[in-house]
């Protein structure tokens, strides 16, 4: 049986190099499979041969996407594989952005089939779903076995050039591709059937889901900064030491607001981060590194704007449900507008 040469891209976790403390590592090659790569080989009953594992730290990749993409392309080109796999990234945003970007690049620029896996809420999905197959996974690595099985099943079909079914059959995230198929009932009949089901309150499946382009037109700019009240908001998880309101480190269920008072500077003695998705060392040393109070006070005293709002809003943006983040944003925005704030600076890790 001929084996299929495969190159596999993963972050530092799946590459078994380390956790958040290693998120800054530059890209490196490990010959042969690592961890998930071994699972990929065994699930494929030995058909897939992972000849190299490309590993890059989550922060390094996300901060240097274009540069790392060039490196990935070069490594893949040298090894002449028949298949490129990335992740799976589950709900990890940085890993998802990397897996999506590199899979798309390998497929488009080198013509090698590329697949990855992500949770539908991963921001990497929108980056790549139109170009590559992204198998739908759960939110965390607990779903590894099932996710890898699905990725491998579809990968083998692509390499073998077998027919690929629709998103529901194969388990990938819809790519927005329409395909003509022959069915027994003509369109008008199917449309009326759907309408009747809808009227009766029964479930039905549309043949053409409408895309939701949720874009907000830009708000009007501040006309006169010297009269403006500016508020600071962060999803970097800064809270008073001890986390009195118990904001969760992952998938936060709430945001909180805290009083700056006459504070001119944030210190690690009084504030900390409870974000579970990045190395907290730097922010715990000096929380201004994510919630820039000291610099805001400087600009305020120089008259760059009229006044810094007395409170800051904080939550943890780490694998947080999009619906929660949207609700937080809406409530925070409405509260700030009511209190006469004119502009918001939000910092994100």
């Amino acid at each position: 049986m001929e084996q299929i040469r495969t190159v596999h891209y993963v972050n530092q976790f799946l590459g078994q190099i380390g956790g958040e403390d290693k998120a800054g590592i530059p890209p490196q090659v490990i010959e042969g499979p690592v961890g998930v790569g071994q699972l990929i080989q065994s699930v494929s009953a030995g058909r897939l041969d992972v000849v190299a594992t490309l590993v890059c730290g989550d922060n390094y990749a996300a901060e240097n996407l274009e540069q790392t993409e060039q490196w990935v392309l070069e490594q893949v080109r040298q090894r002449e594989p028949a298949l490129f796999l990335a992740g799976p990234a589950f709900a990890s945003g940085r890993h998802g952005a990397a897996c999506g970007t590199f899979s798309r690049a390998v497929q488009k620029k080198l013509g090698i089939p590329a697949l990855t896996g992500m949770h539908p809420a991963n921001p990497g999905v929108e980056l790549a779903r139109k170009d590559v197959y992204i198998l739908e996974t759960g939110a965390s690595a607990r779903d590894m076995q099932r996710a890898v099985s699905q990725i491998v099943a579809l990968a083998l079909k692509l390499v073998d050039r077998s027919p690929v079914g629709g998103p529901c059959d194969e388990g990938y995230i819809p790519r927005g591709i329409r395909k003509n198929v022959l069915v027994e009932q003509r369109g008008s009949r199917r449309a009326v059937d759907m309408l009747l089901k809808k009227l009766r309150g029964e479930p039905f499946i549309t043949e053409l889901p409408l895309p939701s382009f949720d874009r907000v037109p830009p708000a009007d700019a501040i006309q006169d900064l010297s009269k403006a009240v500016i508020a600071l908001v962060t999803d970097g998880g800064v809270v008073p030491i001890g986390n009195p309101d118990r904001i969760e480190a992952h998938n936060a269920s709430k945001y909180c607001r805290y009083f700056f008072g006459d504070l001119g500077d944030l210190t690690g003695e009084k504030f900390q981060t409870v974000h579970g998705g990045y190395d907290p060392t730097y922010v715990n040393e000096d929380p201004d590194r994510v919630l820039p109070l000291d610099a805001a006070r400087l600009l305020e005293s120089e008259g760059a704007f009229a006044k810094l709002f007395d409170y800051f809003y904080s939550t943890v943006g780490n694998v947080t449900a999009v619906s929660s983040a949207a609700a937080f944003g809406r409530e925070i925005g409405e509260a700030l507008r009511r209190e006469g704030v004119n502009g918001v600076i939000l910092t994100s890790t």
């Binding site: 944003g329 918001v344 890790t349």
Partner: protein, 76 residues
């Protein structure tokens, strides 16, 4: 979050390092941050220098808030 804040009519700028994600989720005003674990900090530099860098970054955010834009804009 910034998108929803802008929806209520308040200009909002996001300082973040992963620009593609900010644009994908619909942020209108974006200023690139320094690094993921410290978007407004630069560990390893003198404190005074670090505050100076931070001040420059916030200044850029203020420019973003006071600039009329037609669509998503990254203020580099």
């Amino acid at each position: 979050m910034v998108k929803e804040i802008e929806r209520v009519g308040l200009p909002a700028v996001q300082i973040t390092t992963i620009i593609p994600i900010a644009l994908t989720v619909g942020a209108n005003r974006v200023v690139p941050g320094i690094a993921i674990p410290h978007p407004t900090g630069k560990p390893g530099t003198e404190h005074e220098e670090e505050v100076h860098i931070r001040r420059a970054l916030l200044n850029k955010a203020l420019v973003a808030l006071s600039t009329t834009i037609a669509g998503q804009t990254v203020f580099r």
